[in-house]
Symmetry: C2
Subunit: 592 residues, 2 copies
């Protein structure tokens, strides 16, 4: 019997990819579910049959997950993409994604611990699918504002890890389509996905989902491992202990590798830490693995920013690789700058493993690590005296206010910047071009006058016209030189800020738990001693949050100083060059 | 019984002027036709009653013409005007005027001598109504391209001369509404109107309308008057004889005068020629009188550019007067620069009359002048030998090609410039403003962080934000500083070029006449001697046209050199200032 489905978003088929163009609200008949790679074969009312992104349609009954998905997927469509430039930053702008894809816990960052059905349902899915399209969507924007692109056709839920990642290393099969969705969509998905994945790691512990950080707050004995994360009192307040020399690394020299006798291809990046100066090779899937480990281990205490989305922009292989590398570099630099993350075993392993065997061993060890989720707080040791719960709550409130406000500010810049990008690459240069043409046309009319002594004027006017054509080109190319970095930095911060609701959520939950301490004692759910312990541990959590905020602030000040300087520097050059060109053109005219 | 009418164009009512907003195609009921001043009281389907520009609606039966029109008119609307700047140059752009308002002779400049009914019908109208809405419209663009604004609400057809001119001197009753129509609309109207008015002057002579320049070509004896317009052979070919010292004058010091015990007010301008340095006073109506005289006398040989339209832009009295004065100055300067016009009795009278009596006498004399229309050629004496008709025709063709091509080129600049003006005063500054606001907003979020050592960054970001707000303002104000003059000059040339089809048309007609010379002799319509005379006289006409073209070219080269220099100079300043401001902003950020 035929399975009907509802189309959620418009999709423009790309010629030659046997895709099917569908409109939002249209009903289609599913003719083949086992295409894989996030694609589905469907038939529309006119009997036309073609491939449609799975996530663009809503089924009456759930789909089975496909193993080996994607290997047979067609090149994704770029049909709905205007231009590389536009589409790239379209991603930054709050897209008009349907609100219903926002799960309740996505809409209210502070209700993150409510057992949300969709959220819950997604956890298993998530466990087997690090990309977590569904989860990503449901919690796409933890602030609740709708700022997510269309779901991405190119993510088969439950697709077996190694398989889909090869697909993702294989540029050819990604390329264009990604453009219209990439950047923000991805970043925010990971931002959201992280919230969910954090739940997963916590879910490893029974009864957690109900009581959040209880596991840490109430566990009888904190096993003293070799891990000790110290917090000192600095000038600005609680701070992590920073290493003597700042760790850093260079991501470079992407190489295309193949496996299975060249049947599958992937990109390998060379990562060289400044400590050993010895390069190690990593594929995107390894970065992704590292991200998952850091998320599990530190996510409750430290916002782990999203990895650059798999589908970064770039119509062509070179562009694609360059862009992904640039963003991986940015992500690695941020991780290196974090004292806790950079000094962790798993991060060190990633940067300095000696050989395949070493890597495999380290991998297994990291995956077996039990000190994850809220248990990370058990390794944190503040040197300062305990804070009373009231102060803890005040700090927590302050941080959530600030991060929310900054998230709004960053999004405003991204929106405005995106519009400015469009104008600079669209109408504005066209206009300067037409001004240039108009001058040149009039000049050539003058040349036809047959009047003597015309040439000085006509040459000068032609020159002026050409100058405005040059200005047109300059205007169109400028955003790549300055706005690009302003957008990238703000986009990075948008992703980072998207992680805070979850991080702060853990603290909120802990605070609430402490608040009901008396009641719990009264009903003898816990002992009086437990209650004292909880207060002590919530104080530790607060110090950790403060240390993290101070780390965030110092980095923020550095980053925004840098990016603003770079932006203004390039802007100055831009306007000076134009002025110079025009001065040149002006000198061609004779005063009579 | 109720008179129904059809709305021709959208009209947005201005608040407080009891106007009525109407949409194109809407049917309204006329509730009061005797408002005057080009306004009508109408009621829409929703029963709302208000004033609508008379020319915006189409009646089933013609309206009576109102004497004293406008005296009771409300302040005309600026409701459909976005901003003074926009509306001003909207006028330059080819507006979407209904094509049917183009009379056939308007569509084909070279059929200008066909006796066109509408053209003919308008002549009388024109005689009694120098503003000639109808005529102006019908021949609005002699090149045939539709480039006329909406008809102007503020012209009571047949309004008695002295009346309307007082009205037009009285700024209050003009002002705002004019904006949306002025400039080009007016200029081209006069350009077109001139074609018609030339016919009038020629029509003074029986049988002319059929045979164009016959009067001159075939008149038995050319009365040798004191007037002798010599043409010399210069380097560039035939040239007028230029005076030793270039005549020039300054139009300044507009004063509001009143008459009829202050019931009527008008503006008087002080005109001071560089010859006597003695100022004389003139009202707009006097300039208009001069224009009509020059048109009658020289129009066949010399394109007399349109006077600045009565309804020049300016929402406020000061703006209005300033703008009109600027344009009157431009017109006078151009007339002064013309050797034939500037040395004519009527022009000298205008600049140097001693007293009221002197003025009145000179006026009467000028109005009695018989050497007008094509008879001006009878006063022209070329020093060179006669040209053969073939060469005459080639020259004529060349000039018409060039002037047509230049007219297109000029219009292109006006269109592009108009769009650029809109962008610079509209979306662009808004965008820079939003960029500035975005920086400042993020800065104030940062200030709320409670983190130490924040101030340097936040101050710098606020500074940068303010800088972009300043840039926004600069962008919005720049067009007034440079584009304005580029537009004014091109608009002036557009008006001038609009006169050429008529001037060249006279020559075409003459050439055709000579061509049929043999036939005329054969049918003994003319004698063999007449035929020789015709050829000789057409050669004289050709020399005059060549002298005029050479005069046009040398002025054109001077004008465009000047305006391009001025434009580029201001553009350079503009971009340099922006660069400097941004350099300032950049220096606020600290490198760490």
């Amino acid at each position: 019997m035929a399975l009907k489905a509802q189309v959620l978003y418009d999709f423009a088929a790309e010629a030659g990819n046997n895709e099917l163009t569908v409109k939002e609200g249209e009903t289609v008949t599913i003719t083949n579910q086992s295409i894989g790679g996030g694609w589905i074969e469907a038939q529309n009312s006119r009997g036309e049959v073609g491939l449609v992104p799975e996530d663009y349609i809503e089924f009456s009954k759930p789909l089975p997950s496909f193993s080996g998905a994607g290997t047979t997927a067609p090149t994704p469509s770029v049909g709905n993409v205007a231009s590389a430039d536009l589409s790239f930053f379209d991603a930054y702008a709050p897209a008009s994604a349907p609100a219903q894809t926002q799960a309740s816990n996505g809409n209210d960052p502070w209700s993150v611990w409510n057992t949300d059905p969709s959220g819950g349902a997604n956890n298993n899915n998530w466990a087997s699918n690090p990309e977590g399209t569904q989860t990503g969507k449901s919690a796409a924007d933890p602030w609740g504002s709708v700022s997510q692109g269309h779901p991405q056709a190119y993510q088969g839920p439950g697709a077996e890890d190694d398989e889909w990642d090869d697909e993702w290393d294989d540029v050819k099969s990604s390329g264009g389509y990604a453009e219209s969705e990439s950047g923000d969509g991805g970043a925010m998905q990971r931002g959201g996905a992280q919230g969910s994945s954090m739940k997963i790691s916590l879910n490893k512990f029974p009864g957690f989902s109900k009581s959040g950080p209880d596991l840490y707050l109430l566990c009888k004995q904190l096993a003293k491992g070799k891990e000790r994360l110290l917090i000192y009192m600095g000038e600005v307040g609680p701070v992590w202990s920073y290493p003597e020399t700042q760790l850093d690394c260079v991501v470079a020299d992407p190489k295309k590798g193949t496996k299975m006798y060249g049947l599958k291809s992937y990109i390998e990046y060379q990562v060289t830490p400044n400590t050993t100066n010895r390069p190690v090779n990593h594929r995107y899937k390894h970065f992704d693995w590292l991200y998952e480990r850091l998320l599990d281990k530190f996510g409750s205490a430290i916002p782990i920013p999203a990895l650059p989305d798999k589908q970064v922009t770039g119509r062509f292989e070179e562009e694609f690789i360059k862009m992904r590398m640039e963003r991986l570099q940015g992500w690695m630099t941020r991780m290196c700058r974090h004292p806790i993350v950079s000094s962790s075993d798993v991060f060190q392993l990633f940067l300095t493993y000696k050989d395949e065997k070493d890597w495999k061993m380290g991998k297994r060890k990291a995956e077996k690590d039990e000190t994850v989720g809220v248990m990370i707080f058990s390794t944190i040791e503040p040197e300062a005296t305990d804070l009373d719960p009231v102060e803890v709550e005040q700090k927590c409130e302050q941080f959530s206010r600030f991060t929310k406000a900054m998230d709004d500010g960053v999004k405003e810049i991204l929106t405005v910047g995106n519009e400015h990008w469009k104008r600079c690459t669209g109408p504005l240069p066209k206009e300067y071009q037409r001004i240039g043409k108009a001058f040149q046309n009039l000049s050539s009319v003058f040349t036809s006058s047959g009047y003597q002594g015309e040439s000085t004027l006509t040459d000068a006017m032609t020159e002026a016209g050409k100058t405005y054509e040059e200005i047109a080109q300059m205007v169109a190319e400028q955003p790549k030189k300055d706005l690009h970095f302003l957008m990238e930095t703000n986009n990075e911060y948008k992703g980072l800020l998207g992680c805070f609701p979850d991080t702060i959520g853990v603290h909120k939950a802990a605070i609430d738990k402490v608040k009901e301490g008396d009641k719990l004692v009264a009903t003898s759910k816990i002992t009086a001693h437990d209650k004292v312990t909880m207060a002590k541990r919530v104080s530790t959590m607060s110090y950790s949050l403060q240390a993290e905020m101070n780390h965030f602030h110092s980095n923020r000040i550095y980053d925004y100083n840098r990016v603003m300087q770079l932006y203004l520097e390039e802007q100055v050059k831009f306007y000076e060059t134009i002025a110079e060109k025009l001065r040149q053109a002006h000198s061609q005219f004779t005063t009579m």
